[in-house]
Amino acid sequence: MAPTMAEQPTRHGPLELHGLSVEGVNQCVHCGLCLAYCPTFSELGTEMDSPRGRIHMIKSLAAGRIALSDSVVEHLSLCLDCRACETVCPAGVPYGRLIEAAKAEIERQRPGRPLRRLLRRLSLRLLLEHPALLRLAAASLRVYQIVGLQGLVRRSGIARLLPGTLPAWEALLPPIPGASERAPLPPLIPAEGRKRARVALLTGCVQAVVFGAHNRATARILAKNGYEVAVPPEQGCCGALNAHGGDHERAVDMARRAIDVFERAGVDAVVVNTSGCGAHMKNYGLLLANDPAYAERAMRLARSVRDISEFLGREPLRGPLGPVPMTVTYHDPCHVVHGQKIRTEPRKLLAQIPGLKVVELQESDWCCGSAGIYNLTQPEMATRLLHRKVNHILATGAEAVVTANPGCILQIQAGLRAHGSEVPVLHIVEVLDRAYKSEGASTAPSETSPRSIAPAKPALDRAGDVAP
């Protein structure tokens, strides 16, 4: 096999997968500076599981050099889509877009067996698009948990008999909060004090029923800072899960719907408290670039999207903030730090809370393995990365982990629990909310669930609430 310098075989025309441009592969000059920052490459040392290797595969796929074989599917599917490589890439390769196109092509060519297709359809389309159904599903799960069935399933090990990835789903299942917390937020939450602006809050799909407390806390701290918060009740899912999961068509539909809804809300910004949604909505402009009716509106809306830390971190918080005397460490969710390049703002926010000590976490911006539903589809790699994350967390000696994304919270909490640690994992809005409440001058009704209360030092025990 003599080395060659022949021209690479290329198809004519632009490089595409599933109708999505992957021209970005040509920005990769193969320097390899991304390698050591890729979690899967760090774990495996195999070039196919590195950003550079995957780009090479995507390029070869689009150029018709290789087909979508089992091994190519395996390596592309092992990508977390954490986009850490984008942060370090000097060439500016739009990696997230490339891997999403590749995953869409995989879904097209390999929809899987009927059961998988059914589950996928059920989760990505039916549930995400119909909040009422999602609420019904949550209510059923709540019953499953409170009548003791879950405990029975877990103790008996019967979960292992479930097909496919269902056992992993079961293990990660968070405690579904009571009906009061699952109830939608009021459509308008007035600003406290001098009004600064009117913003909309994305309450999310899964977020709304599982982590309603985060949404309530977000609305409260926004109000405390002088923002009027609109919560359009007709808002649905932003489509991020569909886009990341390779369901491009539906992602586009959902984006159009979200644009309609938030345009009508007439707000200065759309505030998001989940990392994947924020990163995805900021990408609406590109997603709808070829839709004449939506292209410009999509750009405009995308520009108004703000992660909660980014939004509040621009200027000092409006006081008074009460003390939250504990030591915490901060985990950067991938689609906040890499997807949206928000790194200093959350730390700035935490630094303003009296009594709160923040210790830096080693590899704080490395994926915890949650990555959307990665922990369910790739449990082995997800677990390896989770162990890595948990070990770093335990080394800090922090009494709580603060982060900014529900997926990370579930994953890290499960990891800590598996290590026998009771350290709770909190959303940054919960910590801020607590600081406002700690001052004792809150005007908002007390509606937080037990899970969202971080007990003060020394007994920080939220794990009991998480593990039923």
Partner: protein, 491 residues
């Protein structure tokens, strides 16, 4: 070169799996594809297997197996090399050392560490950093490249100017020889008896064997560091300033030059603070004792201003310094912002020839209808003209190679060399006769055959195998003139 039948391949795969583990052997063509090139995409070659050993014993067993089967083999680290040095030029087995990346021992008192070859260069400095130490050789790819690859290429880096190259920081090596024997070269002491085989091995580009452990020096971090950025309107002024700095007896830790086109790329990438309208900038770093540092920095500023610098400033804090270095060290990758591919040349010239050579380089590249970005170790006279091109344009690769050859000839003609730190690899084999006589090359071949008598360890590298370098397409073996004259023998 043996062609393996499919059934033989399957048998060999099973054997390799017994040596390592089932998850540590690749033979699927789609997987081998991503190993077809390193940081230099101009050359591609496919292996039959990629194997991931975790110990010297496993490496030795793989090497013995390869010998038994008369298969060539080559070690590979992160694959960030820029000369095709780790390509399986004649097929066979790629031995990836990425799963041998542990730090086995750190001896702060004796200023050394024992590491495995797959360890990422920067990770060593991270490991010893909290105690106030670091590993000095700092190739620009140090965030990804491995110590093993650094040893193979005797890598340098910006701080080479003051601290020397990799060979100056390696005390001893455990090596799997090309016949599969495991030997130690050098050791933990500063001086060793007998031949300096460590010195011979470092820089042998994987043709003398495979290092499986390295005893490396670690240094105390300097008490103080000062980083000066000087901005010039003309590139000759920057060249003049480099000469002036050295001529005035100043010994900076690094003197790096970055030209206009490269500034655009790195500013697009990370917004590092280089002025976009500058023709060239110099990044000068001083390190050492706090006492006298201020005065030295002032003398450097003076040398720059005397040569026409329009602005000279010192990095205000560590963050600004890091950002400037980030720009410098990411420059090659940043070319992706302005071009789909680049080929970097690694010529070394006497520093005094900088203005002339830089001018000529620009002319040569322009003659071939191409663009060039320059970012390099000016203090060492180690040039890195990066020829930008688009591999999709028919014929462009051939023009790049032709321009590269002219640049190499130019470097040799002014009394320089064809490689400072990237190695000869596959890329520069045909340029070797520019700087070495037939006798020199024969002597080197004899040394190689002492280590690697069968030639199976990383074949096709370092020595010229082709008549000219402008040809494209599969490279067929043709005897080199020096072989025809009986001066050299191809093993």
């Amino acid at each position: 070169m043996a062609t393996l039948t499919d059934s033989r391949k399957r048998e060999l795969r099973r054997e390799l799996e017994t040596v390592v583990s089932p998850g540590a052997v690749l033979s699927d063509p789609d997987e081998l594809l991503v190993y077809e090139s390193d940081g230099l995409t101009l050359f591609r070659a496919l292996a039959d297997f990629v194997v991931f050993p975790t110990s010297a014993e496993q490496v030795a067993a793989i090497v013995k197996l390869a010998n038994r089967e008369s298969l060539p083999f080559v070690a590979r680290g992160a694959g960030t090399g820029l000369s095709g040095g780790c390509l399986p030029a004649e097929g066979g087995i790629v031995i990836s050392l990425m799963r041998m990346n542990r730090i086995l021992e750190i001896d702060y008192d004796n200023l050394l560490a024992v590491v495995e070859p797959g360890l990422v260069n920067l990770h060593l400095s991270w490991a010893v950093g909290p105690r106030g130490y670091y590993y000095a050789p700092d190739p620009s790819s140090q965030q990804a490249c491995t110590i093993g690859g650094n040893i193979a290429n005797n890598s340098g880096g910006p701080h080479t100017l003051k601290y020397g190259v990799t060979v100056n920081h390696i005390l001893g090596l455990e090596v799997v020889m090309p016949d599969g024997e495991i030997v130690w070269l050098g050791g933990k002491t500063r001086e060793s008896q007998g031949y300096d085989l460590t010195g011979v091995f470092v820089g042998s580009e994987g043709t003398f064997g495979i290092a499986t452990k390295a005893i490396v020096r670690i240094l105390r971090k300097p008490q103080a560091v000062k980083t000066v950025l000087a901005v010039f309107e003309r590139i000759e002024q920057a060249s003049g300033a480099v000469s002036a700095i050295i001529a005035r007896g100043l010994v900076p830790a690094a003197v790096e030059m970055i030209d206009h086109l490269t500034i655009q790329a790195v500013e697009d990438a990370f917004g590092c603070g280089y002025p976009r309208d500058a023709a060239a900038a110099l990044l000068v770093e001083l390190d050492g004792l706090t006492v006298g540092m201020e005065a030295q920095a002032e003398r450097i500023s003076e040398a720059c201003r005397d040569n026409g610098a329009r602005e000279v400033r010192t990095a205000r804090d560590e963050a600004e310094r890091q950002l400037l270095w980030k720009g410098r060290k990411s420059a090659f990758g940043a070319y992706g912002r302005i071009s789909p591919a680049y080929m970097v040349m690694d010529g070394v010239i006497p520093r005094t020839k900088l203005p002339y050579v830089l001018g000529r380089v620009n002319e040569i590249v322009a003659t071939h209808g191409l663009r060039v970005g320059n970012v390099f170790h000016a203090g060492d006279g180690n040039l890195h003209p990066n020829i930008l091109y688009d591999p999709r344009t028919p014929g462009e690769e051939a023009r790049v190679v032709a321009a590269g050859a002219e640049i190499m000839k130019l470097c040799a003609a002014v009394g320089g060399s064809i490689s400072g730190e990237h190695g000869i690899g596959l890329e520069k084999t045909d340029f070797m006769p520019f700087i070495f006589s037939a006798t020199d090359l024969t002597f080197m071949q004899r040394l190689k055959s002492a280590f690697n008598p069968t030639g199976r360890c990383n074949p096709g590298k370092v020595f010229p195998t082709r008549k000219s370098c402008g040809e494209a397409g599969p490279v067929a073996y043709r005897p080199h003139p020096i072989e025809e004259k009986g001066l050299a023998q191809r093993f």
